[in-house]
Symmetry: C2
Subunit: 191 residues, 2 copies
Amino acid sequence: LTDSLTDNLSIALAHHPVQNKHGDTITSAVTNLDVHDLARCARTYGINTVFVVTPLEDQIRLIGQLVAHWVSGYGATYNPKRREALEGVQIIESLEAVRETVALRHGTPPKLVATAARPPGETMDPVGLKRLLEAGAPVVLVFGTAWGLAPAFLQTADHVLAPIRGRGDYNHLSVRTAAAIILDRLLGDRH
Amino acid sequence: LTDSLTDNLSIALAHHPVQNKHGDTITSAVTNLDVHDLARCARTYGINTVFVVTPLEDQIRLIGQLVAHWVSGYGATYNPKRREALEGVQIIESLEAVRETVALRHGTPPKLVATAARPPGETMDPVGLKRLLEAGAPVVLVFGTAWGLAPAFLQTADHVLAPIRGRGDYNHLSVRTAAAIILDRLLGDRH
């Protein structure tokens, strides 16, 4: 299906600027499984690009090798479904570079929509995000690793998505599962 | 909230009987992150018990140590939220033992509801599963690792849940993300 929802949507998995346990802004290490899980989710929901954001050169090299293994190396024949998912992964040095790349691709700057377990201010719900996408705006949905996106980034993001509520107050999902749930709420074929 | 949906529901992460890439029935190795992610998801959605099913004695010992670290060891003070999640994990040798344990706990044998990306026969949708839970039946929702639950188990399960549809035909989620999406569809606070 042609689809303004997914044609205009990219996702970014940020390893900087994120918080550690104490609230300090850090750069986290890339976790292989995060890249696999997000790429497979994105592919399932028709999203073309997953930006893996890290400023660290050795991590850029390492994840580049991981992706190359599955896209064009031995992994591509061993598991073609994994290739199909990882083809959409683009490793990039900063969220600013994500913004510029998407602006070039779409001819207009994207809205950056941050995700957070405990947003500091006003949030946008999935219906609002759908409206934004249907109106034709390119959107990058940004997920933070470690203890989540740094407050300074949340303040400069165009919007912050409303957090996932389960049943009760516990809200400590991994970035892998939180991203999956958010994509399903936004794009899934629900009953 | 008291809640017939969650009081009657447990989940099981099965490492046997599951399939490998070629469709052979195997026992897979336990992946630490699967245990963490499922425990955190279960806690988020108010589910009390996550059975980690493996017949392998060394794996039972290993996962026992992992859980003990977070529940009563150094990890419990380092990250209390992780403790809260992992307290619900019970390591057990077979799905038959899961059935017996839940039967003892609830006074009546549970229904085992299997999950599969490509179910071989009739399926139950999330609404049907909700009705079953609301009617007071104890239910164990079973997730398979590796290439999914073995066909022989799917045939003997009481029900098979309808698979997740994204947008298109690609359906190769990790067990971590598939379980998260299914729990959210079943129990999430949706808009």
